[in-house]
């Protein structure tokens, strides 16, 4: 499965469009990470736990999008976009969407 963030797959031509596919997850962090983050909020710097958490959940969202694309019979997803929104305190929604296509 090829994923790109542009409107084509370079070097290949699109033969069929299957429409929009999307995947999302809502994740909450756990207490241990929260305490560490609270400490880091005083000293500043990178919150590694959060970075890791968001990366994991983002790949989960991408996986869901790919499953959906596979079901439609696509072999590539183009024009992929990411968006993040915090839905509740301590929970973030990670949303990824793109266009499923067949390329040759």
């Amino acid at each position: 499965m090829i994923i790109t963030s542009i409107e084509s797959v370079p070097g290949k031509s699109i033969v069929e469009h299957f429409g929009l596919v999307a995947g999302s997850t809502v994740r909450a962090k756990h207490m241990g990470r929260d305490i560490m983050a609270g400490f880091k909020n005083i000293v500043g710097g990178e919150l590694k736990g959060y970075t890791e958490l968001l990366n994991d959940s983002r790949s989960e969202a991408v996986k869901r999008m790919l499953t959906q694309a596979e079901q439609k019979g696509a072999n590539a997803v183009i024009n992929v976009r990411f968006s993040t929104s915090s839905v509740a305190q301590g929970a973030a929604e990670l949303y990824v969407y793109g266009t499923a296509v067949m390329v040759e």
């Binding site: 909020n41 005083i42 500043g44 305190q89």
Partner: protein, 152 residues
């Protein structure tokens, strides 16, 4: 009284460690930015006409969550009273974005160029939904890495 002492202690800790961490981070960012100079990260959607054939293209991304220190948060709180540029947050956002962009570039190692780079920012964490407070922000950078066929 104790509250005041704790408050001042937090401000002092925040100031010292925050400054050290920021300086160290900027040094590392600048060093790594030098290393990736040979790989252009562009926001164009189409590739420049080079006449070379593309071997592979794939999505690459990188993200970083950076938190502000206590001292700067107080500083920004004061800024909310007087107005004007909040320079203490400017460095926070700048660091997060550049770090995310660098991680994207590192994920695209070996690529000839990265097309359609986009950077997104969102505030997350404890204070994300509280008014007038930004605790930590996440920057996400993503793009399409293009690998050309070897010339000749």
């Amino acid at each position: 009284m104790y509250d005041l002492i704790i408050f001042l202690l937090l401000v002092a800790i925040g100031y010292i460690s925050g400054t050290i961490a920021e300086r160290r981070h900027y040094r590392s960012i600048e060093k790594r930015e030098q290393e990736i100079l040979s790989m252009p990260l562009v926001s164009l959607k189409t590739q420049p006409r080079t006449g070379r054939t593309v071997r592979e293209s794939r999505l690459v991304m990188g993200s970083a969550v950076i938190s502000i220190d206590y001292f700067k948060r107080i500083l920004a709180g004061l800024r909310n009273i007087f107005g004007g540029e909040v320079s203490s947050y400017a460095s926070l956002v700048d660091r997060a974005r550049r770090e995310a962009t660098l991680r994207m570039a590192e994920a695209a190692k070996g690529a000839d160029l990265v097309l359609n780079c986009r950077v997104e920012t969102s505030s997350i964490g404890q204070s994300a939904n509280k008014r007038k407070m930004v605790g930590s922000i996440e920057a996400l950078a993503y793009g399409t890495a293009i690998f050309y066929e070897e010339a000749g």
